[in-house]
Every structure is written in C-alpha cells, then in structure tokens.
C-alpha cells in the first residue's frame, strides 16, 4: 500500500497571543492510497482545521504533513499553491464553482492551469461528466444546477487534476438526503473504480455509515479511529 498522507504530530493554535485556542492538538494521521475516510466530531472539534492543514491551506504550528513524500509545511506560499494544484483535489461545502463559467469550463479550468493539452482535456472532461452522470449539463452555468449537481461537478473538477487524494469539508452539509446519497454514491464509485483516496468531514450519520474508516476528533485530538459501527456506539453525533 502506498502512503498518501502522513501527518505527524501536528498542532494548530489560533490566537496564540490573545486567547489561545488549540484547534488541532498533536494529531497523527496516516492515509493510504484508496482509503475512503470520514472525519467526524462535534462542532468546533477541529475537523476543518485539520483538513486545512492536510490540504496545505494552512500551516501547523508544530509537526509535519508529508504528502506523496513532500513535507508541505516547508513549502513557500507560491510552491504550496502549485503543489495543491497538482496533488490535492478540493470539494468545499458550497460555492465551489465559478458562476460565470459553464460546468464544463469549471472542470476544464483546473486542467488548463495544469497546462494539460487541449485534446486531452476534451477527452477527460467528457469521461468525467459521464462518471458523475451529468453529460447533459456540461454547458449549463452553475446557477442553473441544483446544489447536488453542483457538488458532483466539484467532485469532477477535483478528480480532473489527477490528485493524490480528494479532500472534502462537509460536502453534503447543504444537500438534502437524496442528493447527499447520490454524491456519496459517486464518490464511492470513484473510490472503487479509480482507487481515488477520499477524506471528508461530516456530521451526517448516513454519510458516516458509508465510510470505510472513521476518524473522530474531540477537542482537536483524535478520539477514535476505526470502522463506522464502533463510532456509532462510541459517541452521539449531532447533526
């Protein structure tokens, strides 16, 4: 198995001078290729902070984050942007897409940033839209799509860059149950068919149940790290 993420002893303190908040406290997290991992925990437990650290959006005060053999905590701001472009796929809770671009252009954009050849982009975009089941919505602007459809396109965009893993912070938080199920179906399918690694945070019990591994954070520390069943028994998840 290939290690994709190796976060070692990471710590993040907000407002160290005034009112220090230890958002992530000495966390070790190790992800292998092909994992489908949920990050859960009560509100304020540090899920977003941890994902930001792993995704190279924020720097830890302590510890290292090694992705694909590179310690990203040591990269300069500019190098880090480039690293994210080539190695990490992002799906945010909402407003993932540029409103003025069509669905297809939103997906193409990331490959254009990677300087992928036009012919290759065309082929890839078509297959990505087939994978997310939105071939008929390629030329539609985000505003004309449902929240669920927008999130599926965000997943397609994340996948388009051929990242090491896809990171999603509460991707279903703004979706109804059916759309959430649908999004999870697609993510699970991509995980299975392409062996794409996913790590996502969620409050949704139904989503947690679809994960193959569940990491629970409480007060910035890893509380449990196991299969979904034991988590369920361990602590009551608030929606």
């Amino acid at each position: 198995m290939k290690t994709v993420i190796d976060a070692h002893n990471i710590k993040k303190i907000y407002n160290p001078e005034t009112v220090p908040v230890v958002a992530v406290n000495n966390v070790h997290l190790h992800l292998e290729r092909g994992e489908f991992t949920a990050l859960v925990g009560p509100s304020g437990s540090g899920k977003t902070t941890l994902l930001n650290l792993i995704g190279g959006l924020d720097k830890p005060d302590n510890g290292s984050v090694i992705i694909n053999g590179v310690d990203i905590t040591r990269l300069s701001a500019n190098k880090l942007i480039d690293f994210r472009l080539h190695n990490i796929g992002f799906v945010f809770q909402s407003f993932n897409l540029i409103p003025v671009l069509s669905a297809r252009e939103n997906v193409e954009l990331i490959m254009q940033l990677q300087h992928v050849k036009k012919a290759e982009i065309n082929v890839r975009v078509t297959s990505l839209f087939r994978q997310i089941g939105l071939e008929d919505k390629m030329d539609v602007r985000p505003a004309q799509l449902s929240g669920g459809q927008q999130q599926r396109i965000a997943v397609a965009r994340a996948l388009a860059s051929r990242p090491q893993f896809i990171l999603a912070d509460e991707p279903t938080a703004n979706l109804d149950t059916k759309s959430a199920d649908n999004l999870l179906d697609i993510m699970a399918k991509l995980n299975k068919e392409e062996n794409m690694t996913f790590i996502f945070s969620t409050h949704d019990q139904r989503v947690i149940e679809r994960a193959r591994r569940v990491v629970t954070l409480v007060d910035g520390q890893i509380h449990t790290d196991s299969s979904p069943v034991s988590v369920h028994a361990d602590y009551p998840v608030t929606a």
Binding site: D82, F92, V100
Partner: protein
Amino acid sequence: MWFRLAWKNLWRNKHRTSITTAAIFFAVILSIAASSLQDGVFDNFIKNMVSYYTGYIQIHQQGYWDHQVLDNGMLRNEQYETRIRGQKNITAMAPRIESYALASFKDLTKGCMVVGIHPEEENKITGLQKKVIAGDYFDHNGGNTVILSEGLAERFSLQVKDTIYLISQGYHGALAAGKYLIRGFVSFGSPELNDQLLFMPLKTAQEFYAAPDLVTSYVLGLKFDKTLESTVSNLRQISGDTYEVMSWKELLPDVDQHIKMDKGSMYIILGILYLLICFGIFGTMLMMMVERRYEVGMLVAIGMKKGILAMLFLTESIFTVIIGSVTGLLCSIPLVYYLKEHPIRIGGEMAETYKRFNFEPVFPASTDPSIFITQGLIVLGIGLVLSLYPVITVFKIDPVKAMKK
C-alpha cells in the same frame, strides 16, 4: 484563458461594470468639459484684454516703458520688422507712436494722448474699426484726419467733419502743432481710454511730432496665448539689448495676477472632481472585491496562482477603464466643439460689463487637443492606479480566511 474568464467576469455583474464604465466615462467628459471651458474662458479673457489696446507683446526701445517719452522712441527698422513678422504665431505687427498733446476746439482745451497708428495692422490687433461709432475708419492714405474717442469728443461737443487743433512738444524739443479734420469717433469701454485717445495715421503723427520714421512701440498679435513665453524668449534673442520685449503679463500685471488667482480656484474645482472620480471608481472596485472574495479564496485554494488571478483582475479593470475613457473622450469631442460653436452666453450684469468693453458676453470652450489628451490621460491614470487595488487584494488574500463565512 484568463482573458476569456476576464471577459466573462465583466458580464457577470452588468450593473457594476456599467457603473464603473459610466463613472469613468462621465469623469472624462466632465474633466474635459471643465478644463476646456476654463482654458477657453481664460484665453478669451486674455484675448479680450490684450486686443483692447495692449496687444500680446510690445517691443520698445530699451528703457521706453519706464520713461515713456518720444525721445525714448526708436527709428523704424525694416530688416528687424521683417524678421519679427517672420516668426511663427505672430499674426500682426502694428507700429505706434504715442505721446501727449493739448487739443483745442473753440474755447476749450484738453489734454489727450495722440496715437499714430498703421490703420490695417492696428485693426488686426485691436479691431479698432469695429469700435467706430460715427464717421469712418482711416482708409489707406488717411491724410490729415483723426479719430477721437467718444468721451473726448463729448467734452468738446464735436461732430464728425469738425476741425480740431493740436499742440505739443515734438521730438527733441521741437514745437508740434497742427489742425486736423475729424473723421470719426470710436468708443472704448474703459473711461481711461475713452476720455483721452486720439488716433491719427502713423505718417501724420510722425509729421506732427517732427519725428519722421520714429515709433514708440511695436504691438504684436499672437495666434495662441499658449506660445506667449516661447515667442517672447525668441523675440528677446532676436532683439538683443537694443529693444525691450514685453509680454502682456508685464504690460498688464494686474490682469495677470487676477487670472492666476482665478486659475488657482479652478484647479481646486478640478481637484475635487478628480477626488470624486477616485471615490466613484474605488467604490465599485471595493464592492467587486467584497463580492468576489470567497471566489478568489476558493481559486487560490484549488491551485490558481495569485499572479494569474492578479492578471485576471487587472485585465478586467483595465478593460473597463479604457472603454470608459475612450468612449468618454470620443463623446467629449463633439460636445466641446458644440460648446465652441454655441458658447454659453452670460446674462445679467456681467453681460452688460462685457458689452460695455466691446467683449462678446460668452464663455467659449477651447478645443485645444492637449486638453483632451491631458484630461483623458489623467482619468485613465486614476483608473489604472485604482486598478491596482484588486491586484493588491488578491496578493494579500488568505484562502482560509476568504472562504470563512
């Protein structure tokens, strides 16, 4: 790629784009109109003032201005005159001989200023012919005839065709005396001139003063007041120490002072206008950055380099600024030309004053191309400098903070 994105972004919020473009559009039009009116009004004022009597530039024998007597006059020098006339921007060169005399009619005697003029050249500069209110202007030989200013004529209760006697001291102390047929009357707005001027043809005056070929000044007309300084310095070079070359600013220091003060307050108004323009443009840019902050954060998060994003915003703003400036510039051209052809008319008391001085009571607009260029560039410059705001914001953005709700 970002060019296409920039283009699409311009259409994302049509209102905002059109507000920014319109702000710049009107800014250009306003600043061009304001400064073309300002320049037009001052140019016109200067033209009025100098064509009243003084001319744009005068040349005298060195020392004449401080001590204005015939003995400080100069002999006409054809070679020199030809050189001066040949200078660019000089429209006319009128020789004058000026001195004081006593005029008498019946049992009245009064001091007056006798001015010998070259009828055609003088007319090119002061439009004297238009000021004739009775009788005629000089024809080319003129003869022993004079034209009196209205006030002087009234003092003596003179009529055209009456004869007036003049007596004075001529060149080098000679006695000057003669009788002259009155050809016509001219009216000047200013009492100072209206009560004492008496014109005669140059030759006649030279004979009267026993000073053949002598003149006290050359009065020059200029095409553009803008070229005043350069023309004066050219003329000074040509004239050397023999002659003194004086611009209207030295001849009419009060007028110059007055214009300087008025211009100062116009610049303050223009400054306020620029400030308003700044706020207008900056406001829309601020709005735009607030609206797009999340999106910029998201794009940086997924891996778009800030340099590319900055280019994107710069392209957008520059495009908006240029469209606004260019259309503003294009629309201001017909507007200013219209204002030149149909100048704003002044009403009320001010108009009366203008008319009394034989000035047309109008605020003309200047169509000097440099106004369009300068004002267009200033507004364009303001727009471009403000376009740096989004760029700076992009470079300072932190994706995590920007995406926080």
